[in-house]
Symmetry: C2
C-alpha cells in the first residue's frame, strides 16, 4: 500500500533497519522456549520490550556528559530484568546462550534476493546494534556482500529514534533526506525516520496497527519481496 | 530499605510523581473491564505501556523546532492504538468514558495523612500530566490543600525522564538536587531522577525487580506510609 496516489516511490538509496527487518529474531524465542518450557514467548517478548525501553530511556535521561551503554550491554540488562520479573532461574550458561543468540540470527528468506534485485542502488544498514554485532551478523549471514555500508548508532552516541541517528545515513550518502528510502518493520522506527524527513517504508509483516504518535509512513508493505516493485526496480 | 547504611535520608523538600504514586490508576482498569469484559486488564496494561512509550518516543525523536503533543493527546492516541491492537470496538462513548477516568482518579488511602505528617516540609507534585489535568486532580481529591505546588512537564516542553523535567523542581525550590527527595512508584522515573542527581525514594508497591539501565534509588519503600520515618518526620 502506498499512502499517496503514486505507484512507486522515487528514492536514490535504501537504508534498512536490522533487527526484525532484515534479521529474524524468532530464533531467540525458540531458544528461550527450549530453556524455559512454556515461558519462552513471555521471556522473549518482555526481553525485547525492555531492550527497546532501555535504549529510549538512556537516550532521553542522560546529559551530554553521561555516556549511554552500548546495545550489547543494554540487551544483557534487559534480559536480567525480564528473567527476574518472570521468576525464571537464569543460570550463567543460559544467559550466555541467550545473549549469543542475538549474534547468530538468520535473515528473512527473501532478504538476499531482494538486495541483489535492488543493485546497483546503494543499500545500507542503520541499526541500534554495535558496530561489532552488526559486522558479525552481516559477515556470518553472507549479506555483507550485498550491502554498501553498515552504520551503527555507535557513531551518534544515542539510539533511535533520535534525529542524530537518521542523520548518519544522510551524512554517509550525501543525499537529501526525502531521496533516501528507509525500510523498517518497527513501527516506532518508521515514525521516527518519517519525522526526521526520510521517505519511509514500513514492513508490517504482523498486521500491527499504525502507531499514533507521529507521521505515517509513505508506504506499507507486508514483506520485503514487495520492495523492488515499490521503488521501480522489479 | 535504605540503600546505604544511614537510617534516614536528609532532604529539605519532597517532590512526588502523580500517576501510580499519589493517584491510583486501578479505577481505569476497573472501568475498562466493565466496558470490555475479560479484556480490561489487557487493555489498561497496553494503554499504559503505549502512553509511556509515546512520551519517550516523542521526547526523543523531535527536533527542538517540532512540538510534542501534550499528555491528554498522547493518552488518547495510546488508547486508540491499544483498542485496535486488541480488536476491541471502541465507541465514541466508551472512548470518552475511558479518557475521563484519567481525570477522576482517587489518591492511595495513605496519601492525605502522609502529606499532613510531612508538613511543614515543602511538598510538590512533578508529573507528565498537563497543568490542567493535574490541577483538576489536586482540586477534586482535596490534595491541593496539602501541596505547595503542582509542576507539569508542560513548562519544560518534554517528558520524563529528560533532565529538563527534573530541573523544574530545582528551579522552583532553589535547592541543590541532593537536598530534594523525589518519590515515584515508576522504576524508570526513579532511575531518571537519580541520574539527574535528586535523592530518590522508589515506592515499589508491587515488588517489581530493580530496573537495570541506570543508578539505583537511595531508598525503596513498600508504601507511602513508610515515607515520614524515612525522612525523619514520623
Amino acid at each position: 500500500m502506498i499512502a499517496n496516489s503514486v505507484s512507486t516511490l522515487s528514492v536514490d538509496a535504501l537504508v534498512f533497519d536490522a533487527y526484525g527487518t532484515l534479521f529474524d529474531v524468532q530464533s531467540v524465542a525458540t531458544l528461550a522456549e527450549r530453556l524455559f518450557s512454556g515461558q519462552g514467548a513471555a521471556l522473549s517478548q518482555l526481553w525485547r520490550s525492555k531492550q527497546l525501553e532501555y535504549t529510549w530511556l538512556q537516550s532521553l535521561m542522560l546529559s551530554p556528559m553521561q555516556r549511554r551503554e552500548d546495545f550489547a550491554a543494554i540487551t544483557a540488562h534487559a534480559l536480567d530484568f525480564s528473567a527476574e520479573a518472570l521468576h525464571l532461574p537464569l543460570t550463567a550458561a543460559a544467559r550466555h546462550r541467550l545473549l549469543d543468540a542475538y549474534l547468530d540470527l538468520s535473515p528473512y528468506p527473501d532478504v538476499a534476493t531482494v538486495l541483489v534485485t535492488l543493485a546497483p542502488m546503494p543499500r545500507l544498514v542503520l541499526s541500534n546494534g554495535t558496530r561489532e554485532m552488526l559486522e558479525l551478523l552481516a559477515a556470518t549471514t553472507g549479506l555483507a556482500s550485498h550491502l554498501d555500508a553498515v552504520l551503527s548508532v555507535d557513531a551518534a552516541g544515542v539510539y533511535k529514534p533520535s534525529p542524530r541517528v537518521y542523520q548518519l545515513a544522510v551524512d554517509h550518502l550525501k543525499l537529501l533526506p526525502p531521496r533516501i528510502g528507509f525500510v523498517s518493520s518497527n513501527g516506532w522506527d518508521a515514525v521516527g525516520a518519517k519525522a526526521f524527513g526520510l521517505t519511509v517504508i514500513w514492513v508490517n509483516r504482523a498486521g500491527a496497527p499504525l502507531e499514533r504518535h507521529g507521521p505515517k509512513p509513505d508506504a506499507i508493505i507486508g514483506s520485503l519481496a514487495e520492495l523492488p516493485a515499490l521503488v521501480g526496480r522489479a
